[in-house]
């Protein structure tokens, strides 16, 4: 019986920063808080990260249940298999997004029992009052997952807030069409506010929303400045920690708690830099996590890299902000909060377009990699192909090949596994690949390439 299966034992990962070590308890408290909110009758919404509605739900005191996060927690605790198997038994294909499968398996089980499945990780995923999807290019589960979840919760309404951005083409300027995108997103967000007002019986406090939008802007700038501190040699924080410190960025945006967290991290990194305190004492190779979500059950692989003298001062994954003051428009002049959110969204996703157009045959994602490689003095690139995340991982090899074509032949490593499904992972093989990659880095360094 799948219900009987217990998670594998897993050791706690060693973090380099105090800030990162606080994230686990913080997430646990947040998840526990959603279960308590349910008991207290507070409105709860299933939510996705990176859907530009953070400040809206915060302004209306709606409690978000970040379903991707919960699946990641199940994966990190090596307790996702029973939920994946449950979804498979419901006829969902194993090749679908394993975040979605884990969530759907959990929902199906919880709805069948009328209570949480046995021993749910960190208290379980609370039943929502509404589900907030999003139609956008980041991934397809954003508008299909919650529709599928309605099979088990037909009484729970879904709203899909479309948030597209202009696609990259090298023969036109996206600014020709950006106004249409902003207008569309604003209409979608207005619809979202109406939906939330209808289902909560609350009215949007527009002044409060404006305050939270301003707070989010300041948080974006602070995160960008804090992460840029990692350029230091030795780097004070690696990607392993960044996979923790992303939590306030993507799950708590628009809260004072998130801002304070990054202020604290900023102070900690400055202190470490002043004391020349790196992730490891003798940094030999500086790597970029060039794409792909991590295997949440195998974050200790970052420690394994560290044990070989390798650090990750930078990553593209979960670096979901740019400095607002680098945008080509002055967002402070856009006082309507929904319009402000929409412009910030479009400017974030188009940020690297101009740079890509300046290099023949390049692409925004590749330009971002090149910029980071240069800024952070990077020796090699590591990517992770998570088999179940099709939309975000499918172009990684292409990006890598293009990078080598338009820029330089940098050593690279492709890891293959999944975000949640531990059956896709083999520690011995993964570490053999890492060992070989380290040999390659050493060989390239000794050749002075």
């Amino acid at each position: 019986m799948t219900e009987e299966k217990k998670p594998e034992e897993k050791k706690k990962r060693k973090t380099a920063t105090e800030a990162a070590s606080k994230i686990g308890p913080m997430v646990k408290a947040t998840i526990g808080g959603t279960v308590q909110a349910r008991e207290e009758g507070k409105p709860i919404a299933y939510s996705f990260i990176c859907c530009c509605y953070d400040e809206i739900i915060r302004a209306m005191d709606i409690v978000p249940v970040w379903t991707e996060n919960y699946a990641g927690v199940c994966g990190a605790k090596r307790d996702a298999q029973r939920f994946l198997e449950r979804a498979e038994a419901e006829n969902f294909s194993r090749s679908l997004c394993t975040y979605a499968l884990c969530g759907l398996g959990f929902d199906a089980w919880r709805e069948e029992l009328g209570e949480m499945p046995p021993e749910p990780p960190w208290g379980g995923q609370a039943r929502p009052d509404m589900m907030l999807g999003s139609g956008q290019m980041l991934c397809d589960p954003r508008n299909k997952w919650y529709q599928a979840a309605q099979h088990y919760m037909p009484d729970i309404p879904v709203y899909d807030a479309g948030a597209p951005w202009p696609p990259y083409e090298d023969d036109y300027d996206y600014r020709e069409v950006q106004d249409y995108y902003v207008k569309y997103i604003v209409e979608e967000l207005k619809g979202l506010v109406k939906f939330l007002e209808k289902h909560t019986g609350r009215k949007m406090d527009w002044d409060r929303l404006s305050e939270l939008v301003d707070l989010a802007d300041r948080t974006w700038n602070l995160i960008w400045e804090t992460y840029e501190l990692r350029r230091a040699v030795p780097t004070p924080m690696g990607t392993g920690d960044a996979m923790n410190t992303m939590v306030p960025m993507v799950f708590m945006m628009g809260t004072q708690e998130a801002y304070d967290f990054y202020q604290e991290l900023n102070d900690e990194l400055k202190h470490k830099i002043a004391n020349k305190e790196g992730v490891i004492p003798d940094e030999k190779y500086r790597l970029i996590w060039g794409g792909g979500l991590p295997s949440w059950f195998a974050l200790s692989d970052f420690n394994y890299f560290n044990s070989k003298g390798a650090v990750f001062p930078v990553e593209v994954t979960y670096r979901m902000v740019e400095a607002i003051y680098h945008f080509d428009i002055d967002l402070s002049k856009i006082t309507d909060p929904l319009e402000h959110i929409a412009w910030r969204w479009v400017k974030f996703w188009t940020y690297w377009y101009d740079k890509a157009k300046k290099r023949l045959g390049s692409h925004p994602d590749v330009e971002r990699l090149i910029q980071y490689i240069e800024d952070y003095k990077i020796d090699g690139i590591v990517m992770h192909e998570a088999f179940s995340c099709r939309s975000w991982h499918v172009g990684l090899i292409w990006q890598l090949n293009l990078l080598k074509k338009v820029y330089k032949d940098i050593p690279s490593l492709i890891l293959e596994s999944d975000i949640v499904d531990i059956s896709s992972y083999n520690e011995a093989d993964t570490r053999a690949r890492i060992d070989t990659f380290i040999d390659t880095l050493e060989a390239v360094k000794s050749q002075g390439r």
Binding site: I397, N401, K404, D409, P411, S412, I414, E416, N426, A428, D429, A432, R433, D435, T436, F437, D439, T440, A443, V444, S446, Q447, R449
Partner: protein, 280 residues
């Protein structure tokens, strides 16, 4: 006094050992069993017997291959990619790309001045590895060693559509039942494996000369199928199973020479060829 270097490559299917000084003095190839540590000991003893040397005369031992951590008498463990690269560069200095088809994985290695600059590996799926041929040969009732020669007599290679080893075995058995000639089926299997390997190695920019190593290189049908895919001939070392072990011995020699140059003393393992098991 002469210095002797030993390289031992514990692969998933075969274990190889060489003893070298200026050239290869002795080599041994034997099947890998479940007891790696016991086997490493025996293979090394056999290699020493052939070289007419006591173990005490070996200056440095390097172990490689997927079982490299199970060689208790090795002074150092080095990844198989680095060892293959060194071994191939020694045997065929003109080579820039190595394709290694082993028992349970396959690899592509890009070389520059004898050192690895990039690599790819398939260790997730038996398709594209020697295991694919081993399993399908069994399904066809053909000896693995005969597959290559039989494929050369094929008239029209049969298309094998299943990439999964288990389902491909069922497919070839059903094609045999349909009356398709055995050589054509085997040639189809070679084409299938060559296609898998070619697409994987294609992630690297394949540059001539290309060397083929590992057990796959001993199958002439597979060599021809891969050459057809590449559009040109590949180079095969005289004993393609030994490149990793030779590379290990040579890297050991490099390490010793480097240490001597710097006047350093190298950390060494306990130099006893005693038997060890998983249960000690």
């Amino acid at each position: 006094m002469s210095q002797y270097f030993a390289g031992i490559d514990l692969g998933s299917t075969m274990t190889k050992a060489v003893i070298m000084n200026q050239a290869v003095l002795a080599s041994v190839i034997g099947p890998t069993g479940p007891e790696h540590r016991k086997l490493a000991n025996r293979v090394m003893e056999e290699a020493l017997t052939r070289a007419k040397l006591p173990f005490a005369d070996i200056t440095y031992v390097v172990a490689t291959g997927y079982g490299r951590i199970n060689v208790p008498f090795a002074d150092k463990q080095i990844t198989e990619i680095s060892c293959h690269a060194r071994g191939v560069s020694y045997l065929l200095p003109e080579v820039k790309t190595v394709i290694d088809i082993g028992g349970q994985d396959s690899k592509g290695i890009k070389l520059k001045d004898g050192r690895v600059v990039d690599f790819v590996m398939n260790d997730k799926c038996a398709a594209g590895t020697g295991r694919f041929l081993e399993v399908t040969a069994e399904g066809l009732g053909v000896k693995l060693d005969d597959m290559g020669k039989l494929a050369l007599t094929a008239k029209n290679a049969v298309r094998i559509s299943n990439t999964c080893t288990v389902f491909a075995t069922q497919e070839v058995v059903s094609k045999l039942a349909e009356g398709m000639p055995l050589p054509d089926i085997i040639a189809g299997l070679h084409e299938a494996i060559a296609a898998r390997v070619y697409s994987m190695v294609g992630r690297l920019k394949i540059e001539k000369e290309v060397a083929l190593t590992g057990g796959g290189a001993k199958d002439i049908g597979l060599v021809k199928a891969l050459e057809t895919k590449l559009g040109y001939s590949v180079l095969v070392p005289p004993e393609p199973l030994l490149t990793g072990a030779i590379g290990a011995a040579l890297l050991g020699k490099d390490i010793v020479k480097e240490a001597e140059k710097k006047g350093e003393t190298l950390p060494r393992s306990e130099r006893r060829l005693t038997e060890a098991t998983f249960f000690t």
